[in-house]
Point group: C2
């Protein structure tokens, strides 16, 4: 089942929060393919959010090839192999990392400095 937490205080738009959290869960394999998502009306109601907002998030998910839609039936998670999930993850991550890095480079941060800071801040998963 999908788990979503909306932070109205956040400066991140609600539809973006939805996309981020659901795409993360799909990519992590927490939401298995073929599994159906709840009707957007239901999601909107439970989260006390506009249908439009949910729709917007779902559209992005579909654009990323993570869900598909059948009018009259509902929205479903695209069944993806482990390999495909990994590719999706890399794709989403790369898009963001690329943008972030251009910012770091502009401020004159060298790769070494970047790595050093990242290591400190990543919370030591490993290395």
């Amino acid at each position: 089942m999908i788990q979503i937490i909306i932070a109205n205080s956040s400066d991140t738009p609600i539809y973006q929060q939805l996309f981020d959290q659901i795409s993360a869960q799909i990519i992590k394999g927490d939401l298995i393919g073929d599994h159906g998502l709840p009707p957007i009306r239901t999601v909107a109601k439970e989260l006390r959010v506009s249908i439009i907002t949910v729709k917007k998030a779902w559209e992005e998910l579909e654009r990323e090839g993570l869900i598909y839609t059948v009018v009259g039936r509902g929205c479903f998670i695209v069944p993806l192999s482990e390999e495909e999930l990994l590719a999706k993850k890399r794709r989403l991550a790369s898009a963001k990392i690329e943008k972030d890095i251009s910012y770091y480079k502009n401020m004159g941060l060298t790769f070494q400095e970047f790595i050093t800071l990242s290591k400190e801040l990543y919370g030591s998963d490993d290395a």
Copy 2:
């Protein structure tokens, strides 16, 4: 002299673009301390932008301790030692990296994956 390029097409607010570019130039040492910035009216006029927008950017720069203001005289770059500049750079970078990383972690990206992708995308300054 300050060099600024405004991209109206960008989704980044103008005042943010101003802050980013000027703070970067200060931190890199391109703008030397004690040096005065042009009057905000002048900057606004040359960039064809509202004074309010420039003001907003300048306020952030002041908040970061990069410039200081004297009413009636103008705005000036805070003279900082190499060491202090480096500290500022780390501070600004860390703030952003920390936010970015929380996003990567949420999408289930391990530190190793993150490093691998970063290495590919940083454009090989070094290693």
